[in-house]
């Protein structure tokens, strides 16, 4: 049994703004190396929770809030050394160049002067901003500023990243770039807490999610666990070469297949995974003798989960 403390441990957290209760006694625990997706409608309490973890929220009540075993209210300065926080809305020093901006924060994080240049170059390369090193920050596009902020967050090599809506307001290309960057960070073993409205992207990135509504967790756990609990089906797209006579009926007759829809160039097969695994469907299809040109299981439909679990309430 592992003796390592979880990276994040929250028990019975309450955040109140006057009479308004933004977070109502939520508890969760995130092991090291996990990517935890924080999902919820606007005003659900996501940003308040993340702000507590980022040591920026002064007024809150809890039984425990620990990061890497360190209690949050006992040593916030120690916590800040192991976390990197990127808020949903932030400003950057626009009169500085990207190089000056990162060197400024590297010095502020007390990174050794000799190592600063290499670290700045590394984070610029990771965020694909090397070509913009001497560009003034105000000349960068919003996506680039977002990546620059992420580069700033990575300077001191934090173990935990708190990213509040990192892709908000970005165009599709910039969103994909940020997602790829987060995948790279996940592979580097960072623990990431990410809140986002772009559910499809979270489903490709997160190892577990927590859905929060009106300040309370509606559900939390791994995606598979949640899908199974909600008895949601997975959609598999299949392109078959040649005549389709009787193929749909054969597939529909297979145990575990809920429905088959004929689309323009493919079949969309709804599957109940607890009865028929995706790979078993492939084997069964092949066994019927059809020629398969394309076989692609769709990522789990998190939007359905979200809509099924939430009611659009705010705290």
């Amino acid at each position: 049994m592992s003796t390592q403390p979880p990276m994040v441990e929250v028990k019975n957290l309450w955040v109140r703004y006057g009479k308004y209760e933004a977070v109502k006694g939520i508890s969760f625990s995130i092991p090291k190396g996990e990517v935890f997706g924080f999902i919820g409608p606007n005003g659900a309490g996501k940003s308040s929770t993340i702000k507590v973890l980022a040591t920026l929220q002064r007024e809150y009540q809890c039984d425990t809030v620990k990061i890497n075993g360190i209690s949050l209210n006992k040593a916030p300065h120690l916590i800040r050394e192991i976390i990197g926080y990127m808020p949903d809305f932030f400003g950057v020093y626009e009169d500085l160049t990207a190089r000056e901006y990162l060197h400024f924060f590297a010095a502020a994080y007390r990174i050794d002067r000799k190592k600063r240049k290499a670290i700045v170059n590394d984070v610029l390369e990771l965020t694909d901003l090397t070509g913009k090193i001497d560009a003034p920050v105000d000349s960068l596009s919003r996506g680039m500023k977002q990546r620059l902020a992420l580069a700033r967050v990575l300077l001191h090599d934090p173990d935990l990243l708190l990213l509040d809506e990192p892709a908000s307001g970005l165009d599709p290309r910039a969103r994909i770039e940020v997602r790829e960057l987060l995948v790279a960070l996940k592979e580097m073993g960072k623990t990431i807490i990410i809140s986002s409205h772009i559910l499809h992207e979270l489903s490709q990135l997160c190892t577990s999610i927590g859905i929060i509504e009106a300040g309370e967790f509606v559900t939390q756990g791994s995606l598979d666990h949640i899908y199974k609990r909600l008895e949601l089906s997975r959609v598999v797209h299949v392109q078959i070469v040649g005549e389709m006579n009787g193929v749909c009926e054969n597939i529909e007759a297979m145990p575990g297949v809920k429905s088959v829809t004929v689309q323009a160039d493919r079949l969309a097969i709804q599957l109940q995974e607890d009865q028929l695994a995706v790979e078993d469907l492939h084997a069964k299809l092949a066994a019927t003798g059809v020629k398969i040109r394309m076989f692609q299981a769709e990522a789990m439909d998190m939007e359905t989960v979200f809509m099924k679990l939430t009611e659009g309430k705010t705290a």
């Binding site: 702000k51 980022a54 040591t55 920026l56 929220q57 002064r58 300065h77 120690l78 800040r80 050394e81 976390i83 926080y85 808020p87 809305f89 932030f90 400003g91 950057v92 020093y93 626009e94 009169d95 500085l96 160049t97 000056e100 060197h103 400024f104 924060f105 590297a106 010095a107 502020a108 994080y109 007390r110 002067r113 600063r116 001497d134 003034p136 920050v137 105000d138 902020a149 700033r152 001191h156």
Partner: protein, 517 residues
Amino acid sequence: MFQGMFALFHRALNVDFRLTRTHLFRFLFAVMILFSLMMAHTTSRFMAAAGLVFFTQIIYLNFVFIIMAGISFFATAITEEKEEQTIGLLLMAGVNPISLLLGKSLPRLVSALLLLSVQFPFTLLAITLGGVTFSQVISAYIALAVFLFFLSNLGLICSVVCARSRSASTLVVLSLAFYFFGIPLLKWILLVMVQQGWISAGSIINFYPKLILDWLSQFSVLSQINRILISGFSESPWNMQFWGNLIMGIILFFFACLLFNRFALTEISTSPGRGLIAKKKSHYFSPGRSWSNALIWKDYFFLNGGYGMAVIKLCCYGIALMALCIFVAYLSRSYSREEFALTVFWTMLVVLIIEISLISARVFHVEVQWNTMVSTAMLPQSMSKTAYSKVIGCLLSLVPVCFYLSIGFVLCIDEMLYDLGMVLSEPGFWMMFIEVLFFWHLTALLSTYIKWGALPLAFVLMWVGNMFFFFSASLITLGGGARAIESLYIVFTLAMFVGIVVSHFVIKERLIQLASR
């Protein structure tokens, strides 16, 4: 056509009504009137024409408030829309430029005029206290109202022409300086030229400019108020100052409309800009690599201009001091080293106070303005250290002024030490010293709460506080002698010192709160 104007007008008045600070401001004003009334009532026992004292105080109080409103309230009418980048949206919504200008400036003018009008009945009490006639009251309020109209349009045109609130406020200050001091200065120059025999008194070069300047000087509200406050004033309120200010106000509004499309629709950079700071590392004015205390480095270079600005200040202050010394030498006909040193020292002391005042208004405000507090708050250090580092970074920009200040001090060190020995034992000196420190702290604190105008607001608060203190002190120590006044000074100094210490904690808490937003 004016639908947009009414919408903006309605919204501005609604917002104004909902804001607590508007009512607090009015309350403060009412307290000050009440206080002046109390003063007049008290002084009426041993002084004739107490009504005139009361009336004078109220009129000058209004005058200061109008000036402050011009610098902060009116000068930001359009620039705040530019900074929020909402001018385009308003125009897209079908609001034409004239409606926009009227919709933005009129509510502010109405709010200020309301403040003037509500005090009118109270001011009439001055007549019953004696020393003031009804015609004086009417004339004074008309003079102030029309000056307010002129100032609101001056603020509007500055707001149209300038990209930022700060530059618009600066332009209003410069314009007002010319309005109040320009004409007297030109008249004085003309007089000196005649006295020196450079031009003859009866020549055209003297006659016509003098005639024009005399005519223009009648436009000054300050001269008009001074005339009104003289006992026995019975002139018509519809005089040159009234018509001059009214026509100038209309002309300024007309120009604001003309220039609107040229300036207001120009895309402004949201960046504060680098100024003289070079990007190339090899350049003399390059900020180079970050210092070990990065916040000091950043604030010194990017908030205060760094080495480039230091060099400019050294040159400009040097030239200005040299010109001033030559001027003083010319006037006094004899000039000693002590006189030169004292000129340098006192001039630079004033510049130092002004520079620190400007720094205190900016040091934290820029972080709030650019939403960067959250990044700074995440650094692994306390907010106090962050705040002090920022202050040190800004104070480094005072090196040029301190350089000349120390030259002035060293050149007359004996006299300075003697004077210091004299004043250090005076409670009044310490009160003044602590008061200036308190003013800077108050400005810094206010700048974290309000979008613009922290410096003028702090100035007004200090002025009101002082007025209140000195009057209270004179009442408390009535018949108590110098020792009683000194004791009161000491108590007041200690209270302000405690206020300074408390302000450090309040600013820290405020910055933490801002970072969490």
